[in-house]
Amino acid sequence: MSETTLKPQASYAVLGLFDTPDALMQAIPKARAAQLGAVEAYTPYPIHGIDEALGHRKSPLGGMVLVMGVLGALTAFGFQYWISAVDYPIITGGKAANSWEAFIPIMFEVTVLFSTFTAGLGMLLLLNKLPFFGHPVLSSKAITGITRDRYALAIEAESDSFNAEAAAQALKDAGAAAVEALPAPDRSPFLTSDYILRTLGGIFVACVVAGLAIFFAIKWFPLMRPMVNMQDQPRLNAQKASAFFKDGHGMQQPVAGTVARGHLPTATGTQDASASLINPLPRTPEVFAVGKKAYHNRCEVCHGALGNGMGSLTSAYGGKPANLQSQQFRDYPDGKIYWAIVNGKNSMPSHAPYLSESERWSVVHYVRALQRAQNAKDEDLKVAP
């Protein structure tokens, strides 16, 4: 690392190496005074006062960060305001849609985010123009010292008339322990770097691998059923077996003596004892409508539409249902008809499970209406005044 390396060829720069920061600092003014080219220092860590000695201007990074920070705050405010107050106004906690106080935390975070990326990436990419793998200093012999414990001063070529010999001499005169000429790169330094090519190759391989992984993940993942306990609920389905009950059935019989609402079997004694029961329902068109519907559904199939015992089942099976139009039943008190509906009589089963309390009494009213319609008297034909 001395004159032997100084060949007469196009040089990028000449490096002088120093052992102490003091020696470097003393050499800087001398190298600058020689006016052979641009002077730059390379050090393992920041040296105090070197910026003034090299005549650097103040770093513009602070201003950039301030601008981007303010931009971050405004972006976050505008974004939140537009979403919360304009595009998707939702009242939360009784606050007005445009109350801005709640936007402050995110404004702060976005400000810091913008500022940080400006400071970090702005410094690296914009101001220092990194990543850059092809700089001649990186391929110099001196670089192992520069990033360790040596301090280098470079006089860099600014034109074709750069005199490497003179620059080396100037650095030696300034106290350099050794000098090294850095040849100018043949091509654009960026392209000479095989590292960047390897990096790009690596990124390409990574993309292919990631693409395949995503392809198979998307292909196979939907077949899996993650978090199944949202779907498998411990619920009893109708007509399904269940291990929960001893008999293995999902559906169970009601407890003995269970009575559904409105289905109280109120006429429990003998039919004669029920004769004193009084129909609690008024004779209104609504009650007759309920009675008519219930009669059609439950009674008509045997007792017939007119109540004369000529239902459709009668002819088919030969039963003998009661003729409700006969004198015997026309003389029945309401209570005895009611008792027959609740308890059943002869072949007629109990209708208590199917007809509610009020439906039974409505049917009684309707039967009375049928009897009167078939045995109408003259005064029934008179129109009410």
């Binding site: 920041p46 990074l61 602070g62 306990n229 949202m230």
Partner: protein, 467 residues
């Protein structure tokens, strides 16, 4: 250095800056000492440690896998304790990270030069802790494949996020915190990686370091912008670190649950975070210092100063706990009364006393200088603080939730084995990353330490600049 000597007569010895290194350290010897680790074969103990931490990590991953298969029902969370281990662990790990940012950013702004030797490790621990922390919000949403719904982006559902929700503030705060910490850490690493690039002989390592060092060449113009960026980042990270745990505390403080709805929560959470983080840093640094032969760089004075920070934070925690009791009494609010009684005497009263003992009583040992200089006592305190701070979040979350306004909704919370497995797993992930970091990257910011070595700065500038 000279400054200390010049003022030694006027300033009491206790107020002087601690000696930054012990013995003779030169830039070259520093590189040989610190940057040699990645080039040498790890000792057997390292493999043993890695086996232990990896096992813990796989237990955790298996439990997370079981959670994915089974659903959140695999955990003990149930009405009314809908937040339990998941949020406890999240708050715990985010808090651990805060020490790193405090050391790297706030102490940088205060020009505490001793922080240079430990900043790198603390920053790395910040990043690893935040990685452990973000696992929990992701898995506790129940449908992790829809976690991206947390971000406000235009979508076909025509829905936007609710910017009045502290949970959304959390998304922004934690993401920003992770990005900023990573940026800060990486920028600090670049010159060190450049040193490793230029000293390694292995071709593979050289390629990796070359890419990672982005062609750093130590030019004075670069250093100028670099220092400015570092200063700005330190300032930004300072505000950020105070905001992150404040925002985390908003998750609780903006609700109406008795025991959560308190104005003291943001500063109380930040102090607790720094407290727990410093304990973790002390624990790890003691091990690093002993096993990696870094005693001359991470000195007993470092540990002494960090123990003092732990002690002062412990006092702040004590004040906060007393304030909780005072608020419960002074508010004359029967729900707060009941909540505070639960902390000291309810079903989970033991957890309350573990918290108070570990966080308030045990660290008081550090008033003694001998305790601050003794591995046994500082590790004892550090483990106590770690346990205590985990239980503090348990107290805040589970005790407050399990009995709130409506007695008919009260229920006792019981964690499952899966809960413990995931907690163990995050410790495994954390220490696995710490172990790997210790072997592949410089554990001490050599560039920053070089800059504060004796004779590192030109003599006619030495006094004006860094005092």
């Amino acid at each position: 250095m000279r400054t200390d000597a010049a003022h030694a007569g006027a300033i009491p010895e206790a107020l002087l800056e601690p000696a930054l290194t012990e013995g003779r350290v030169t830039p070259g010897s520093l590189d040989d000492q610190v940057l040699a680790f990645p080039e040498t074969k790890p000792p057997r103990q390292w493999y043993f440690g890695l086996a232990v931490t990896l096992s813990a990590m796989f237990v955790g991953l298996a439990c997370i896998g079981y959670t994915f298969y089974k659903g959140i029902g695999a955990w003990g969370n149930t009405s009314p304790v809908f937040w339990a281990f998941d949020i406890i662990n999240f708050v715990f790990w985010v808090g651990i990270g805060h020490a790193g940012t405090l050391i790297s950013a706030i102490l940088f702004l205060f020009r505490k030069r001793w922080r240079n030797a430990i900043a790198r490790f603390a920053e790395a621990m910040t990043i690893f802790a935040v990685i452990c922390a973000v696992i929990f919000p992701l898995i506790h949403v129940g449908r992790p494949w829809l976690a991206y719904w947390l971000f406000p982006y235009p979508n076909q559902r025509a829905l936007w996020t609710n910017f009045r929700s502290p949970l959304l503030w959390d998304v922004f705060a934690v993401n920003t915190y992770f990005s900023v910490s990573l940026m800060f850490w990486y920028l600090g690493l670049i010159p060190d990686i450049a040193s490793m690039r230029d000293r390694t002989t292995s071709k593979l390592r050289k390629t990796i370091y070359t890419v990672l060092a982005v062609g750093w060449r130590g030019a004075a113009t670069h250093w100028q912008h670099y220092e400015k960026a570092y200063l700005l980042l330190a300032g930004l990270a300072t505000g950020l670190v105070l905001s992150v745990h404040s925002v985390v505390s908003f998750d609780f403080a903006t609700s109406v649950v008795p025991g959560w709805h308190m104005t003291i929560f943001p500063p109380y959470f930040v102090a607790g975070a720094i407290f727990a983080g410093f304990a973790m840093v002390v624990m790890v640094l003691v091990v690093v210092r002993e096993t990696m032969q870094l005693k001359n760089l991470i000195t007993m004075r470092h540990l002494d100063v960090m123990n003092k920070v732990i002690l002062s934070m412990s006092c702040i925690m004590g004040y906060s706990y007393m304030m909780e009791g005072f608020t419960a009494w002074y508010s004359q609010n029967e729900f707060l009364h009941h909540g505070f009684k639960n902390i000291i005497s309810g079903t989970y009263g033991w957890a309350g006393w573990v918290t108070i003992s570990c966080n308030i009583f045990i660290p008081q040992i550090l008033w003694f200088k001998k305790a601050r200089a003794s591995y046994f006592w500082m590790i004892f305190v550090a483990i106590g603080v770690t346990v205590g701070m985990w239980f503090e979040r348990f107290v805040i979350i589970v005790i407050s939730l399990h009995q709130d306004y409506l007695p008919s909704a009260w229920r006792i919370y019981k964690p499952t084995l899966t809960d413990f497995g995931i907690l163990l797993g995050t410790f495994g992930i954390f220490f696995t990353l710490v172990l790997i970091f210790a072997r592949v990257l410089p554990v001490i910011a050599t560039t920053e330490v070089k800059a504060i070595l004796p004779d590192a700065q030109p003599s006619h500038h030495g006094d004006d600049h860094h005092v």
